[in-house]
Symmetry: C2
Subunit: 334 residues, 2 copies
């Protein structure tokens, strides 16, 4: 069982793998060992993964066997485990709890080399529906406070396998970034009686110079204080705190926006550029929920410079968002 520990100096929670720790000699080996051998996410290799939680088999067939178009499995090396109690406890000045949670992998396509930018609209629509389906199922577990849906694409972005996949982690705590955003939202709302993200949307729609893509109900733009070159956010235009409650049409539209901007990114940044995306949504029941506006953040990994940023929370971004948006809108070419 892993442990979740709290740093009293920053209130930051960290998952510490106390049960299956990595030793100094394990770090170097990692890249080479994983780059050879069969892909566990390819059809025909289902026995290499844990038993599936959900799968799409349009033409029928047996679980954990081909053919399928999408599969959800528990992570074989989960950061958190589902069995057991939280056992919250103090250790002098420190706080800890057991590493309870869920960690699932969504194998987005059976085709080893297909990227999200290659997806058909209906494939992306289905992926977003699966995000919602898994969210609705996982939130039944009352131990969980937060669901984190994210994707690591490319080795430089932390992916250990190249076959396209995303992940869902169910956490018994709220991640720091989300609680910060909630705190800020609350302060902002108290002052102005308006949602900070709604106000951001309005200003971006007026200024237009950071907008990359607009659809009837979503906006994709390079945020004013982008941390990374070509960072993008996708937001629903109307105030909606909970991703899992997104109406079907809006969900389809959001998936389609993601598909389109990933295509634009590829044409500007080259094939297979590494990136992460993350869906920030409101915490689960038991904590404040209204004060939030869900959004999807895309962070390309173009710069190696990240050392002191981690330690200081202070970022230096060499590419202004206005310039990134110009490239992505196709007004500027490389």
């Amino acid at each position: 069982m892993a442990e979740i520990r709290r740093d009293p100096a920053t209130s930051r929670w960290v998952i510490v793998s106390t049960d299956n720790p990595r030793h100094p000699a394990d770090f170097e080996k990692e890249i080479t060992e994983k780059s050879n051998g069969a892909c566990p996410f390819c059809p025909g290799n289902e026995r290499m993964t844990p038993q599936e939680i959900l799968a799409d088999r349009e033409s029928g067939g047996q679980p954990n066997n081909p053919p399928w178009s999408l599969r959800v499995i528990p992570n074989k090396f989960p950061a958190l485990r589902i069995e057991g109690g939280l056992d919250r406890s103090g250790l002098g000045i420190y706080d800890r709890m057991n590493g309870i949670g869920a960690h699932e992998v969504i194998i987005e396509t059976p085709v080893h080399t297909k990227r999200l930018a290659d997806f058909q609209p209906q494939e992306m629509e289905r992926l977003f529906q699966v995000f919602v389906e898994r969210s609705l199922d996982l939130r039944k577990d009352k131990r969980f406070r937060y669901l984190l849906i994210f994707k690591n694409e490319g080795m430089l972005a932390g992916a250990s396998l190249t076959h396209s996949h995303s992940q869902i982690i169910a956490l018994p705590i709220i991640p720091k970034r989300v609680s910060e955003e909630m705190r800020n939202y609350d302060e902002y709302f108290e002052q102005k009686e308006r949602c900070v993200f709604c106000d951001i949307l309005q200003q971006e729609l007026q200024e237009k110079n950071r907008v990359v893509l607009e659809s009837p109900n979503t906006l994709c733009f390079a945020p004013y204080a982008s941390r990374f070159p070509f960072e993008l956010w996708i937001l629903p235009k109307t105030h909606l705190s909970d991703f899992a409650e997104t109406p079907k049409e809006l969900l389809t539209e959001a998936g389609n926006s993601l598909r389109q901007v990933l295509g634009k990114m590829r044409s500007v940044l080259g094939n297979d550029h590494p990136y992460n995306f993350l869906i920030h949504t409101s915490p689960l029941a038991g904590t404040s929920r209204e004060g939030y506006h869900w959004h999807l953040e895309i962070m390309p990994r173009l710069t190696r410079v990240a050392g002191f940023e981690w330690g200081s929370g202070f970022y230096i971004n060499p590419t202004p968002p206005e310039l990134a948006a110009q490239y992505l809108r196709g007004e500027k070419t490389i």
Copy 2:
């Protein structure tokens, strides 16, 4: 002139290089271009750097000429510039100011291949004195709110040159991590009338299992909620908020602790493992100062997994600090 921009959703400040931006084609070139050619930090190549601010020439000689044992120069590609006014302004919902600040590079040794772990005690002592000297000089500028002293060692940690160097950035704002620590400190102090870092020190000294090195007046340990494998903190044992006011003997001791733990890290993690270190100190005049306990954070860069951590502020650490400390104390071998 760069811009410093505030994200209204998180209150995070970001430096955006609006004056000399990087375009999509610039990202790939970077590594190859910088890896060939003469090293601008080597003796004899002083003309390749801006005019020096400070240098140690034990045997005399001309400025910007060899021989020297240490040199401080302005960064040739500064994130912030010293000339001009802050010109704080609002842009609708957004806040911005001019990219005013200082960005200096400390060339720590004339020897191209020498690492900090190879330093003699008096060389490290001098380096820490220079950190203080530059801090005291830079803080005379009343526009600055914070001084960030840090080192990127190795390409993976964000260094663009291999010749050993550290950096000082003077900022007109307080970095997020420091203001978070201050907020937490304040809450903690209000409840307990004690400093959270002083309490952490006491508990680490009692438990001992995360301690790596103890000297009469400093403690080096792997923090309880370490974000990264082999993360280490060095703290003065007595409460001291301002790094630049560290008494000479304690400063020497802190430098010596850093030198020794870097040696231990090298023997466990291998030659030239990449890392960052950062000195967290209290903000400059005009903001709360007492509520802080300076410390040096060392973050080895062993894991590629960092994508969603950036976005969520939520970390997964595969190596428990207790295990890291065992290796670094030499009780466990690879």
